[in-house]
């Protein structure tokens, strides 16, 4: 009878959200949002914040993971835990050197809560920020032979 049981694996659990299309007041089905989709939102939100260098992890692997569209790095740096009707998020980031952590963390927390709610309707009860490393700001002159390094 119950053919739509949520038998997903733990890494692919989902949030059921309201707003399904209704016929005569009855929803025609459920709407579920997989954690992977929420992870993507969190990733893009966090990476869009000034002062965030990257989600924690080796840059080489990170770039490679992006290339092959792998979720592995994202999954390692973003963890989602489900409680009754909300989720708790842990995100591991490396900020740039020169940014103060408390305001940066507050911005990460606020924007994650805001964006996830806006796009999915899922309530984020907490955003734990895990700062695992710090990185230097990227240098503009790449010493790629522009002749600017040694002015006459």
């Amino acid at each position: 009878m119950s053919n739509t049981q949520q038998t997903r694996s733990a890494s692919d659990s989902s949030s059921t959200v309201p707003g399904a299309y209704e016929i005569n007041g009855a929803a025609v089905g459920t709407i579920r949002i997989l954690d992977g989709a929420i992870s993507t939102i969190i990733k893009r939100t966090v990476l869009g914040i000034e002062g965030v260098a990257r989600l924690s992890g080796s840059s080489l692997i990170d770039d490679f993971a992006d290339l092959v569209r792998s979720k592995r790095m994202q999954d390692r740096s973003i963890q989602i835990e489900h409680s009754d009707d909300s989720i708790s998020v842990t995100v591991a980031v490396n900020p740039y050197y020169g940014y103060k952590f408390p305001p940066l963390i507050a911005e990460i927390q606020n924007k994650v809560i805001e964006t996830v709610l806006e796009m999915t309707g899922v309530t984020v009860s907490s955003v734990n920020v895990d700062i695992r490393g710090i990185e230097d700001l990227p240098v503009n002159d790449e010493t790629d032979g522009n002749g600017k390094n040694e002015p006459d």
């Binding site: 709407i31 949002i33 989709a37």
Partner: protein
């Protein structure tokens, strides 16, 4: 399965048969072009799940149709546009699929579950050009 004395049900079942692939095709047609819909998910989860469960699950990667008599249940896996409201997109998918599949096939739709598996940017940046008639496709 069915009680053989129930002739009305036999008559109903003998009237016509709609193959799962037809339901899938209709569902896909209904969904293409919905604002906020980016693409169907190439879902390994459902495939694996279907393998595990076995039996009467017919899946075409992202649209899963489960049949019982003239009742059909659909599970549709989509990637939603980044920045869109996922529930609105999913509800639009349910609405479009429900009406097209029900109208065309006459099947009784038991449920349409929509799973948003990921989010991506929409490739085409033609927002204002959505009003343009889509009748002619120029390659």
């Amino acid at each position: 399965m069915a009680d053989k004395k129930d002739t009305s049900k036999q008559a109903a079942e003998s009237a016509y048969k709609v193959h799962e692939s037809v339901v899938i095709s209709l569902a896909r047609k209904a969904i293409e072009g919905i604002p906020g819909f980016v693409r169907f998910s190439g879902s390994s989860i459902v495939s694996e799940l279907a393998d595990l469960v076995g039996g009467r699950r017919h899946f075409d990667k992202s649209v899963v149709v489960t049949e019982s008599g003239n009742d059909v249940s659909l599970e549709i896996l989509i990637v939603a546009a980044y920045g869109s409201n996922f529930a609105e997109v999913a509800a639009a998918v349910q609405k479009a699929v429900y009406h097209l599949v029900a109208d065309v096939t006459g099947l009784n739709i038991k449920s349409i579950d929509v799973v948003v598996t990921d989010t991506e940017d929409v490739k085409a940046e033609s927002q204002d050009e959505a009003d343009v008639v889509e009748g002619e496709v120029v390659q």
